[in-house]
Subunit: 138 residues, 2 copies
């Protein structure tokens, strides 16, 4: 049901296709979070003809495999970004969308401790902070 496997880093049995590569390519070109529709448009501009549904499918698959990061904007739209190395969290401005990457040894430790206290294993967590950045709150 959840699609989450025991070995989260496994790639499953997905086939390499031109479209999949194209999606991965645009994603690798920007360090910003982009929506599926934006990525689809970018592919079009770049001359790669890929169906919108295919873009959605690939993004989901890649996100499920942990190859890319996915989060929701304040409006509920899903946005994706190439997974940079290292675990970190995001501080997102809800006005201009600017994203700051932050690390939190504190949080990591806390999450681990709390999980252990409740007997949970194989833990993973997501933490997003939304606010108004200095420029936008002026």
């Amino acid at each position: 049901m959840t699609g989450v496997q025991e070995r989260a880093t496994s790639e499953g049995t997905r086939r390499p296709t031109r479209q999949r590569a194209a999606v991965a390519a645009v994603l690798a070109d920007t360090d910003e979070f982009r929506s599926a529709q934006e990525l689809h448009a970018l592919l079009r501009e770049g001359g790669d003809k890929v169906g919108l549904a295919t873009v959605y499918r690939n993004l989901q698959a890649m996100a499920a495999d942990g190859e890319i990061d996915m989060l929701r904007t304040d409006e509920g739209e899903a946005v994706y970004r190439a997974c940079s190395t290292g675990h970190h969290h995001h501080l997102v401005c809800r006005v201009c969308g600017r994203t700051v990457e932050v690390e939190g040894p504190t949080v990591e430790a806390w999450a681990t401790r709390v999980s252990a206290e409740h007997g949970f294993t194989e833990v993973r967590h997501t933490l997003e902070i939304f606010g108004t950045c200095a420029t936008c709150s002026r």
Copy 2:
């Protein structure tokens, strides 16, 4: 566009209506996060006839005024909760779905500090921990 005013705590010039009161009432009855549609259904069951659009409008207005909390589920659906209840996070078992509510003063403090360091204001955060619970892991 964003609807965020300079005086965030102001109530603006909104009129007290039967519908608004009804929405506030159901919301006050549960300490869980509920979607607009769920709340609308609850109102129906309770005999209060309130239009769906009205529920949406009131929830938005109340959230904008900071009277209630609003956040997005993993699927992008907006869910609301009466503001008074304590803020907590969830530890979810990805196998059986069991959910444990956990509090984290540590995390709260950390999030606040990090946000401030980057000049962010009006911050809110979401944190979910996924893992395998003791029962399911063996």
